[in-house]
């Protein structure tokens, strides 16, 4: 995983609550066996509208998505953060995220940032660049207000150092083997 560095970008605003993963990438595009090329299908059905925010010239190259409550609800498809990061997003800001989407994002260097309602409203009302500093867990609004955000320390460590979780789990081999030795399997799916 590529280490997550601090950055600054204007926001693409999606003032809709409960944006689900079927909107982020519709299921009919999940027949692929690759992780790549999904940016073309990001918000595919909403992008049919030429005036949809992602289609506007001023949105090109932006790295922050500002969205309504409970972003990423619905299916467990990791294609959602794959599509978002391939389009160029590095952070999504909302008041809340669905659990699976949040975990999938953290594994793909996409930072889900939860802000309180007043900051959320301020961001929707403002333009200009937002600064994101993950080591210090701060977001600076276009008006210069510095806001602290929460991120669990393990995820932060993985993001900042570019550590991938599987490597970390593989290092626990002795613990896993000990658990297996003391817990006989209840099933054998092979027979």
């Amino acid at each position: 995983m590529i280490p997550f560095t601090n950055f600054e970008s204007r926001m693409i605003k999606l003032p809709i609550n409960n944006v689900d993963t079927d909107q982020i990438i519709p299921a009919r595009f999940l027949k692929t066996t690759s992780k790549l090329g999904l940016d073309k299908q990001l918000f595919n059905d909403w992008r049919q509208d030429p005036d949809f925010v992602l289609n506007r010239p001023e949105s090109q190259g932006l790295q922050i998505l500002l969205a309504g409550d409970n972003f990423g609800c619905g299916s467990s498809r990791e294609h959602a953060p794959w599509a978002l990061t391939q389009w160029g997003f590095r952070a999504v800001i909302s008041t809340s995220f669905a659990d699976i989407f949040k975990q999938n994002s953290l594994k793909n260097s996409l930072l889900p940032i939860v802000v309180p309602a007043d900051v959320h409203a301020e961001l929707f009302a403002s333009d200009g660049p937002v600064k994101i500093d993950l080591p210090n867990q701060t977001l600076t609004t276009p008006s210069g207000r510095e806001v602290h955000f929460e991120v669990d320390q393990f995820s932060k460590h993985c993001l900042v150092k570019g550590v991938d979780e599987l490597g970390y789990i593989l290092d626990q081999e002795a613990n896993i083997a000990a658990y297996e030795a003391s817990h006989p399997a209840p099933i054998n799916a092979l027979v």
Binding site: P15, I16, N17, N18, D20, D22, Q23, P26, A27, R28, L30, K31, T32, T33, S34, K35, D45, G68, D69, N70, C73, G74, S75, S76, R77, E78, S96, F97, A98, D99, I100, Q103, N104, K107, N108, D152, Q153, F154, H157, E165, L166, Y168, I169, L170, Q172, N175, I176, Y179, E180, H183, A185, P186, I187, N188, A189, L190
Partner: protein
Amino acid sequence: MPRTIIEKLWDSHVVHESPGAPALLFIDLHLVHEVTSPQAFQGLRDRGLNARRPDLTIATADHSIPTTDRSLSIVDTIAANQLAQLETNCKDFGIRCLGVHSNLQGIVHVIGPELGLTQPGMTVVCGDSHTATHGAFGALAFGIGTSEVEQVLATQCLLQRKSQSFQVNVEGKLKPGVSAKDIILALIAKIGIGGGTGCVFEFTGSAIRALSMEERMTVCNMAIEGGARAGLIAPDETTFEYLKGRPHAPKGADWDAAVARWKQLPTDEGAVYDRSVSIDADALEPMITYGTNPGMGVSINASLPDPSQITDAMARDSITKALAYMGLEGGKPLVGHPIDVVFIGSCTNSRISDLRIAAGLLKGRKVSPKVRVMVVPGSQEVKRQAIAEGLPEIFRAAGCDYREPGCSMCIAMNGDQLSPGEYSVSTSNRNFEGRQGKGGRTFLASPLTAAASAITGVVTDVRTLL
């Protein structure tokens, strides 16, 4: 200290805990399907890793599989490639695959319980958000992303943070025409689709105890639509009776030992939940969704919300946008609204009891000539049982299209889909924009409501036909 079943399941699966890191949790059963696994297998190949526990892993083809005659070749070459890739991956990594031509193929959340693989006290994962279905057995079962599929294949473990416990207590007795699906739709309408975020539901109460295993699976299946990653029900005699004699259930002395162990699982007297909510089963009516997320649901005869009565701007905009997409007016009931399609199937409602209930209503009746009705059994085993009971004849005589097992029009990946603007009454679990086909409009409901609406051609309160 008294513990909830959720805490007991968690405690018994922690492999290791390090300060500053999530717990490492052991996974007892890993279910794999064609859509969320190819990139995970590729990840293993890239790192030169094996599947650690093929004995705890099983695969099937369900999401992109056609529901037409299996002896025909698959027309969609991209889907065909994905299905072939699953077979290759399973062969390469030594995993049993109940693929396209297996006589045990089916929707992953139908076959796990059916084969007795899903058992009380287990941790169960799958790259699919409806994995909570298996919680009906008193298992901690949740959906995972593809990176996590790769982690479980490689290590049989996952890094997890403990969820909060959320008791959903359902007391009373369901009235005729009201079913398990209505319980879960009512919960989601009450707490909203983000209401259970960060939580695991435990469903308790007399109305839950009275449900069959298949009905319990329907309830747990949609935990994710209430925002919770998992939902579960403590095992009891109903659970044991369902499991006994299934192919992978313990046998003989092992069975007795397992039952004794499973009886220790229910939440201890005096254990405290982080959150709780109550639902009055006596007062429940058939439920239906009207909008573009499963939380937008009402009792079948109730009026839809009127956006002009909603004060919060973004909440009002969400309802307005949903009603516009659905082509509906706020403030009026949905009953009587014309429909084009009825879909009876999905991991929520495609089991034999669901088909029996629908067939019971359709027997001796005809579906409306204006409505295309698809009935899709959840598995080859359900299909066999339905044949033994003469159900396909009843569906066909009524004018339904009775198909081969798969996810079908729940997710519309396989060509089974709505046309733009079409309305469906569907027994599936999601009504998001375009979920059942681009531009399609979905009303989620129970198999009874779906069958009733198929007969009349409009959204119908099944109680008028009972």
